[in-house]
Amino acid sequence: MADGRGGTLRAYRALLGAQARSQTAYRTSFAVDLVGNVGATAFDVLTVLVLFGVTRELGGFTLRETLVVVGLSACAFATADLLVGNIERIPQYVRTGLLDAVLVRPLGALPQLLLMDLPLRKVSRAVFGLAVWVTAVVSAGIDWTPGRALLVVLAPLAAVVFFGSIFVATATVSFYWVESGQLANSLTYGGRDFTSYPVTVYGGWFRALFAYGLGFAFVSYHPALALLGRADPLGLPAWVGWAAPGVAVVAAALAAAAWRVGIRHYRSTGS
């Protein structure tokens, strides 16, 4: 098939267009949701500002420094939530038969599900997150080098891939156990909250597990250190700040494997 790849891309683009037309079919409701959706992300940032109303330092970091951490986390989480977040609705896709419907079409099941249920009303959240990130970076007084300029773009992209992987990997648990939503939320929303602060505010096994066991420290904390030119109070070398893209690739590979195993399980057990 000569037009194989191009044809597939056109097909996905058509699915995206259909989703856009479907969602904007209810104009008022779409507009209201668009505005309402900014709320959640705004609260994450407000929380940080309120905290700094009572303290001048958080885990050894100033307000401006912490804003780089929370900005990176908010921007990346909102974008990943927009692109991949609805995959947590797998139990619904199974119940309504959408999963069976996409499985009898000549396209990948995961991209079809993501595109056919893309929550476009969350676009406003991602845009707001991006604005927070830009503001934080501009006001942090970063000593710009070509490397840091690259990292300012790469770090949010890696974090989007990382959060997206967490969404997909935790969602596949519902292929085995339908009532797994709370478990998934503890890792996705829990991960967002965890990455909103420098990891130095956490302690003990909790920090070891979330920051390094699950890799959340590489999402916002270490890239922020590299951008700010600060040494890690916990003693990890400076290059760790550049590990985010590598960690994201590993996370994506693990999530893809989890998805394939989950789909295979669905096909062998049925709904």
């Binding site: 044809g7 097909a11 699915l15 959408l98 499985l103 295979r264 057990t269």
Partner: protein, 301 residues
């Protein structure tokens, strides 16, 4: 004649958890499809009937690559359904009666355009097939109506069109007439009869409605949990209607063949025990097959 579907010893087991005490639960393995052997040739129409839970939908899902068989082999259009899912998808059409392939909030016409992209159908072919369906299924009155506002009958006509736009070699239909009113039911049946009569498209359908079968199909397969289905003797002019009781009961319909021909045809079967000729309507025969084993009705070797 080319073989479109071949199944050998096809089996699908599900694990169910049964409550045995206050907390304790036991795992039971239940076979939804137990050793199905089947051969369908190009252009055939195959009706698949059976009570709820007999594994009809499960069988269709194994044919279309949605479910992996527990055991046995299946080839559709020469492909392995699960392993070669996307290649197979281009050559088959699927209608799940209680599920939709259409975009709920968009006009019906948009779903057809979208499926054209999804299946990469050349524009001219797409237009020609759509024109044919519009004529035969009378779609023009509601092409621009959002799918969510269509009646069930209109939606089913849309689903049929959606499944045919890429020119599939085999069309699988899971209960296509379920909960339709009489008029829509007739329209769907008439369309499928017309489609099948050209001999290009192989039709495999499951149904509860025996009138669907009588109108459409020359051949019946009864799905019965404890009864594997061997290929019974073929008698010219007397199509096989039912196989039951572990393949120990065969039901043929007398069409062009006479009683004497059928009986002499069966006389060659070594294990022939009893032959009876009755005139039940199909509904009665099938109801009896689902229920407790009744005395042998029609030719029973």
């Amino acid at each position: 004649m080319t073989e479109v579907i071949r199944a050998r010893g096809l089996r699908k087991e599900f694990t169910v958890h049964v409550k045995t005490g206050r907390i304790r639960r036991a795992r039971r393995v239940r076979a939804a499809v137990d050793g199905l052997d089947l051969r369908v040739e190009r252009g055939e129409m195959l009706g698949y009937i059976g009570p709820n839970g007999a594994g009809k939908s499960t069988t269709l899902k194994m044919f279309t690559g949605v479910l992996t068989p527990t055991a046995g082999e299946v080839r559709v259009c020469g492909l392995r359904p699960v392993a070669q899912r996307t290649r197979l998808a281009l050559r088959i059409g699927v209608v799940f009666g209680q599920r939709s392939q259409l975009w709920w909030d968009l006009p019906l016409r948009d779903s057809f355009d979208l499926l054209g992209h999804v299946y990469r159908v050349p524009a001219a072919e797409h237009a020609a097939r759509l024109r044919r369906c519009r004529d035969l299924l009378d779609l023009d009155g509601f092409l621009d109506v959002p799918v969510r506002q269509l009646s069930l009958g209109q939606r089913m006509r849309g689903e049929l069109t959606a499944a045919l736009l890429h020119g599939p070699e085999v069309l699988f239909l899971d209960e296509p007439t379920i909960s339709l009113d009489v008029v829509s039911r007739q329209a769907v049946r008439g369309f499928l009869a017309e489609l099948g009569s050209t001999g290009d498209t192989t039709l495999v359908l499951t149904t509860h409605d025996l009138a669907d079968i009588e109108r459409l199909c020359r051949r019946l397969v009864v799905a019965d949990l404890d009864a594997p289905l061997p290929e019974p003797p073929v008698l010219p002019g007397a199509p096989l209607r039912e196989v039951a009781a572990d393949g120990r009961r065969l039901v043929y319909a007398l069409e062009s063949a006479g009683v004497a021909e059928v009986v002499s045809g069966l006389a060659g079967v070594a294990s022939l025990r009893d032959v009876a000729v009755v005139e039940p309507d199909i509904e009665e025969v099938v109801a009896r097959l689902y229920g407790a084993p009744a005395p042998a009705a029609v030719p029973a070797p």
